[in-house]
Symmetry: C2
Subunit: 503 residues, 2 copies
């Protein structure tokens, strides 16, 4: 539509705006003038056969020449301009999915074609953060019904890559999260792969928690493998534990997570779509989902768990996935550590059959591995847990885990943080309750997951006795500033571990 | 919480990021390192007793020194640093309203204290655009009930200034919009003030339309008056037509509008809160609300109008405002012009009793002025319209309008755009329907309201006959590029004026 005269020379601004492409132009440049561009206008830049829709920031002093447009790092990476390249700038067409977005915001039900239009615009970077946030919010709570959840899942699946493993069974497990330290995945994958099954596990980084499996695993081995690298690990070892974002199995999910993270919420519908689109894209045939239930876990009641389970089963059926659910106790944290490196330390101690290993983490991992072994076609029913236990105790799981790490690029022992400080009990008594959400908040304020060594370390469980002045937990941080934030928050919330009179 | 060592010298980045404060720091500066700041982190900057929460953009090349933080224009204006000032940077506390925001997103009802916390954080710039968008979306559609609407209105009122006019009646009118060209306000204010009433009118700029009253008025006189200047205009002339944003009667609304504008939606609850918080803040006692109803107007059906009217009346009563509603015909545009300067031209031709003045605009203005004169205490019922007609015909309204313009800073005749082109009828027949939304979209693509002279000019009304090849309307634009966009959109939508067989 626009003439090819709207050109500016491209330079690199050297500014990191995360995933958000930004372009800087001078207020008085001929493109701003002829196109009527003002601050925060969405502009389409085309150069060398590529294009990007970016947010305009207007330069009002003489830092920028009039014939130049500067690109922030994500804009630069998307456009990949040659040296001295020029770009043509114009108003982008309204995104094709604008009507669907508006309809959803106003409470209408969407169909698969609507979700597909939204996901295409999302992975094509044609939606602004404001539009993305409106979509996430409009789908929050109970605002996606079962059919919409399935439609969204299929749409997310359609805009990403999908792995074909050929014939045969592909096992997978997923935990809906919400329980600090519940890092069973590396142990389960090691056991199941040691049993001779195929389990190509892709994991996410933390959304609203102090650590995702990918964050914890990354302290022991590289996880940012592309699809070919992941495939060769699985062909060699039967299993892997890699970051889903770099195989780009669900690029739409990666965009949504960027918005959900600062808002600190996700919803049942989006959770199911996120999980199952990735499972289907990974080529899984049999999936076990762990739902921890507890008053301060992500799923707080049996009713909420039943509702989530029904949605998972209905969507899995629509996608042709064999899905089973294991509801687990979500009362309190699992293992000792909360935070990437601290959780990795616990995982290794279980795999090494260390006598000081957290018993709860071991027991949960065996339950899950057992259930998954039972779910595989042809398994002798009810024998899974015993088999899992044998493979863990005889060192086969540890050997498999180290072999997987080697195949992913090499094993590293996780390190601990330079700054640690205990938080002490203010009274003597017995631990009555643990507030998982606030405990996770302390770990996040301490820097987790961005700082891999940051987090919480605690051996206390509900029912344990403690004396006033003894440590409730230890805060680990990479920087003194972060340690202070976490400690200040902990001081302001002395009931994270609720201490009652001893019986 | 944080040590005072986290200091950087402040410089002005010279980058306009609209209302969004942004701070630029080098990736390797000691503050980023010690605080764990990364791209898009929200950071608190304190300097000279002022503070601002800004979004961090991370500089990754050598454009920025390591001991310096650069501020975007809005951040610079909020912090107002002295020459060579330093700022202390830290993580902001989570906004006090975070829990209320989350509750609303998940469909819970909020109380006045929740809305108050949200509005305080909003005007204190403590909410990110992502959080603001989540709030706007969570309140869209039917998601605010009557009580919440009242609570939101009171909260918006509480965080702004409120004008005290002393005793006596203060009249006001408002149109809920959605009808292109419906620029009755300047005429109504002129007539009502000429009748000796007090009518201090604050108007908004366009949210989703090609022109707001403030945009149109600004082509004839300054509208960005502060409270003192507005008061002296009203004391002298009885009335004014100023921009509500610069008197900051509803600063929360100004923030919300910034998010609603790119999303192109607002909702009943937010609309009522926006309108009535400003009316109450302006010290109005008697308010007339014009609700145009039509299939492509903002309010599309009698049922929707009734629902909006009920919400307006309930909230007005809770605030102690005397409110009346006039539902008007919203089938087609009003006047000839759509866009700030073109609408101003129509207003002037009505006030000047020009024989070519648009009759529909004149008639609607008289209806509204009459209803408002009738609503004033002590009025002889049903005599309002005749009085309005007299004051318009005898030139008293024109004289009053020009006097108000003078008092606001001086009258200017609006100018027309340098680039115009007609859109021609593709067939012969009779105008059956006019798509107000698409017509408004053409005006916006032509540059309205940012370009004051841009817009649409058309004398055709439903029922008029037209020959193929005759102009349906003329597009006005400030730049050739914008003219092209508007014409391309019009060409892609030939049924904006639907032409049927002549009878």
């Amino acid at each position: 539509m626009s003439g090819e005269h709207n050109q500016l020379r491209l330079v690199r601004a050297g500014i990191d705006t995360y995933q958000q492409p930004v372009v800087y132009m001078h207020r008085d440049c001929h493109v701003c003038r002829s196109e009527g561009f003002t601050a925060l206008t969405r502009v389409l830049a085309r150069s060398g056969g590529r294009e990007v829709v970016a947010t305009l920031n207007v330069v009002v002093d003489d830092h920028l020449e009039l014939d130049v447009a500067a690109l922030s790092e994500p804009a630069w990476k998307m456009l990949q301009p040659d040296r001295d390249a020029w770009a043509v700038f114009s108003h982008p067409e309204p995104p094709a999915s604008a009507a669907a977005l508006r309809a959803k915001v106003f409470g209408q039900r969407l169909r698969e074609a609507d979700f597909l239009a939204l996901m295409r615009d999302m992975v094509g970077n044609r939606l602004s953060d404001i539009e993305l946030t409106a979509f996430v919010t409009a789908c929050a709570g109970e605002r996606l019904d079962m059919e919409e959840t399935t439609a969204l899942t299929k749409a997310m699946l359609a805009v990403g890559e999908r792995i074909d493993w050929g014939s045969g069974v592909v096992l997978d497990k997923h935990c809906v999260g919400g329980l600090p330290g519940n890092r069973t995945t590396p142990i389960v994958v090691a056991i199941v792969a040691a049993a001779g099954h195929r389990i190509p596990k892709t994991s996410s980084r933390a959304i609203t928690s102090p650590a995702g499996t990918a964050d914890a695993m990354e302290t022991m081995a590289p996880v940012a493998l592309d699809l070919d690298a992941m495939r060769s690990v699985v062909e060699r070892e039967g299993g892997c534990i890699v970051w889903g974002g770099s195989v780009r199995l669900s690029p739409a999910d990666d965009v949504l997570i960027r918005i959900e993270r600062p808002l600190d919420f996700d919803s049942d519908g989006q959770l199911v779509a996120s999980v199952l689109s990735k499972k289907a894209a990974a080529g899984s045939t049999h999936v076990l989902v762990d739902i921890p239930v507890g008053p301060t876990a992500k799923v707080r009641s049996a009713a909420a768990a039943a509702s989530l389970e029904a949605r998972l089963l209905a969507t899995a059926q629509a996608l042709g996935l064999n899905l089973s659910v294991l509801r687990t106790d979500g009362l309190q944290p699992v293992g000792y550590g909360i935070g990437p490196a601290l959780e990795a330390r616990d995982v290794l101690s279980v795999l090494r059959n260390d006598t000081r290993a957290p018993r709860d983490l071991r027991s949960r991992a065996l339950d899950l591995a057992g259930a998954l072994l039972d779910a595989a076609p042809g398994a002798a029913p009810g024998k899974g847990r015993a088999l899992a236990c044998t493979l863990l105790d005889n060192g086969a799981a540890l050997a498999k885990f180290l072999a997987i790490c080697e195949a992913q690029g090499g094993f590293t022992e996780p390190t601990l943080a330079p700054h640690t400080r205990p938080v002490l009990a203010s009274r003597t008594g017995q631990i009555q309750r643990i507030d998982n959400r606030r405990l996770a908040r302390v770990a996040k304020l301490a820097g987790a997951p961005a700082s891999a060594t940051a987090g919480i370390d605690s051996r206390l469980r509900i029912g344990d006795s403690i004396q006033a002045g003894e440590p409730l937990f230890e805060v680990h941080a990479q920087s003194p500033g972060e340690l202070e934030y976490a400690l200040a928050y902990a001081a302001a919330h002395p009931d994270i571990f609720e201490i009652g009179a001893s019986e």
